[in-house]
């Protein structure tokens, strides 16, 4: 049982009333981001380690052959899965994915899918054969805001990803042929509401103390995915205001991920 998470809420709320956060950041300041592309490049199509402050997530991209969905016979397939493994936090347990990891995977997936980030039309090979892109999110060290860290790791890994080499309809292991076709770079930003204050990129303690959170994934001109979590509430004005903040902050982060 992590003692401090039960104590921290009052302290954080009081600090926020004075305009301060526990780690000294400004309200809309995210923690520093570090990206290592190709972290597992020997075996996977693409991979990336992202550090968001102390939070660490590794994303791996595996590209394989598959059958298309019957209603989209010329489109490739993408699927995202997440594991909140106990290595990353004493709060995580072994076992099949529970609601937190399901939500996380689906939120990350939504931003990538709805923006058309992966050009699935270019993943068509021939009748009944398309490329399937698996995005696997592996949490390694949880210090808050796994959603953003995971989505950023996924995006960096996608930009890093190579297409497998195909010869006579079979994949040649360890050989690559070009890059995975990517059209844009959706970037997430998660905001937390604690009492009446809204802050960007909650760290571990802020995450324990939050009443509600809102994740907004944007590309240059569009909003592609949103998710509200937690048992608290947002006002309509807040929900609109945060979209502007998300567009603004995403620009810097996008540069980092694309570099």
């Amino acid at each position: 049982m992590d003692v401090t998470k039960y104590i921290v809420k009052d302290y954080i709320t009081n600090l926020l009333k004075e305009g301060r956060r526990v780690d000294g950041r400004k309200y809309d300041e995210a923690r520093p981001i570090e990206v290592v592309k190709g972290y597992a490049k020997e075996k996977s199509s693409g991979s990336a380690l992202v550090k968001l402050g102390d939070t660490q997530v590794i994303a791996g991209i595996s590209v394989g052959l598959g059958e298309p969905y019957s209603d989209r016979p010329t489109s490739g397939i993408m699927t995202t899965s997440a594991e909140l493994r106990p290595i990353a936090s004493p709060d995580f347990e072994l076992g099949p994915p529970r609601e937190n990891s399901v939500e996380l995977a689906r939120v990350v997936d939504r931003g990538i899918r709805e923006s058309g980030c992966i050009d699935v039309d270019k993943l068509f090979i021939e009748e009944n054969k398309v490329w399937t892109v698996f995005i696997d999110l592996h949490m390694m060290d949880n210090h808050g805001n796994l959603i953003d860290a995971s989505a950023l790791a996924a995006m960096a890994a996608l930009l890093d990803a190579r297409m497998p080499k195909l010869e006579d309809g079979k994949i040649i292991s360890g050989e690559w042929d070009g890059k995975l076709p990517i059209t844009c770079t959706p970037i997430p930003l998660t905001f937390a509401k604690i009492a009446d204050t809204i802050i960007a990129d909650p760290n571990m303690q802020e995450e324990y103390a939050l009443d509600a959170r809102l994740t907004i994934t944007t590309t240059e001109k569009e909003v592609n995915a949103m998710q509200k979590g937690g048992e608290g509430r947002f006002t309509i004005a807040e929900a609109e205001d945060l979209i502007d903040k998300a567009f603004k902050s995403a620009k810097q982060v996008r540069k980092k991920i694309e570099s």
Partner: protein, 240 residues
Amino acid sequence: MSGNTDMKLIKNGVRLDGRKPEELREIKMELGVLKRPQGSAYVEWGKNKVIAAVYGPRELHPKFMQNPTKAVVRYTYNMAPFSVDDRKRPGPDRRSVEISKISSEALTAVVETEDYPNTVIDVFVEVLQADAGTRCAALTCASLALADAGVPMKDMVVACAAGKINDHIVLDLGKEEDNFGQADVPVAITPLSKDIVLLQMDGKLTRDEYSKALNLAVDGAMQVYEMMKKTLIGSLNRKE
């Protein structure tokens, strides 16, 4: 192990990756790579990449699993879906369950479990990139993570494998050697006494070949142990 002797895995004493028969792959080690666990370590062994984390000693739930005389050492070996050529579906498979069992038994031999009755010492190892010999890299990494966490141990545990390719006994099989070779013998020892705490074998070996492989693996493990000592001794300069 297919024992496919058509494939040339060693020619004039040189293996596919350029190594000599008794040469280890390149190994890197680092302590304290994660912050939430009590201890952690990272090992790169050839193209293998593994991270181990230790939580504990901590309360063990459910209570019926507690041992009133000592701590339970629980080892969970897991491969990330993207760690292998053909994506592996997330979740434990039978191979991981087996590796977890024998690895926790290996570590229990050295951990001073009587110091912490009714608790669990959880060791989680994640394989992020796999290229044959992952169970040895994982166990070695776990041993470092336990030391990083301040878990009392009489000795370290270090693991290494040897095997047979094209009728030659070689040290530390790589991927193709593991796939097309004739035998694989992973071993883990406690270096002070050179006692064996993990031993497996699969393939075909004569009595003499087995003896050669076993001793070669132990030699390899002792070389890895030298690196572990250096890593442990040097681990405090960077921190404080």
